[in-house]
């Protein structure tokens, strides 16, 4: 969202189009305090926007839950450390 859009939203009532356009910013915590409060109030009162927000929130939570706890292979970690030691690490 541009600064100009921020200003427009901050100074006027938020309708559904504006709310949905900024929905991800809202869910990601990327809106400023005033706008976040106003958009949150709209989402809470509007069935359509509330439904969309709930869907996107659950989608993002599912992506987070699917985050693989993949760890760097031990052999790679050792290889990196060996390389860095040859560069002077811990010498």
């Amino acid at each position: 969202m541009t600064h100009e859009q921020d200003q427009q939203l901050a100074g006027s009532a938020i309708d559904c189009d504006a709310a949905l356009e900024s929905l991800f910013d809202f869910l990601d915590g990327e809106l400023d305090g005033s706008l976040e409060l106003r958009l949150g109030a709209h989402v809470q009162q509007c069935g359509r926007c509330s439904s969309r927000a709930d869907f996107e929130r659950r989608f993002l939570a599912a992506v987070q839950a699917a985050r693989t706890e993949e760890r760097c292979p031990i052999a790679l970690r050792e290889r990196v450390v060996t390389t860095l030691r040859s560069e002077g690490l811990g010498a």
């Binding site: 991800f24 992506v63 699917a66 760097c72």
Partner: protein, 200 residues
Amino acid sequence: MVTDAPRAAVRPSAPPAFTDAAIAGMDDVYRFARSLTRDPSDAEDVVQDTYLRAFRSWHTFQPETDIRRWLFTIARNVFLRSRERGQREVAVDDDQSALADAAQAQEAWVRGGLDSILDRTDLGPSITAALAELPESFRAVVVLVDIEDQPYEAAAEVLGIPIGTVRSRLFRGRKLMQHSLAQHARDAGLLSASPSRSSV
């Protein structure tokens, strides 16, 4: 392990905190490299080169800044250099934008279908597959924001793109993921409905 080395053993010319601060982030850098390369061997090369470059330029790291962001930026640059795609990326992104728009045309079907399965505990592999299928420019943003919990501003800095581009790529990337996820779910028999052409 280097992380266990006593501080006193580190000579003045070697960055004293490198072992603690940077080596500890290797899991994150490896995961980011995997998402960029989609290949374990290529990812290992990126990690190795990232840490070598990070160590050599450790003196440029600002202690008050986020070290993960710094390492991700180096990893991203290493990846781009290895693929020599810096110049090609914009064109690829433009092409993929049309794909994202097409996916959005089926958003009603996607949302309607996914709504009933998003809470399933066995959705992880399909989400991982949908993420892996994203075009690189979208995938990098989604991984940084949705997987590595980086704010938009950090993703913009790591990727060297304006924050508005982060927003648009994130939006399109998420919509593409949802579309792909719905297709995976349909193929797995979790969804029976055919795509509707209706839009929102």
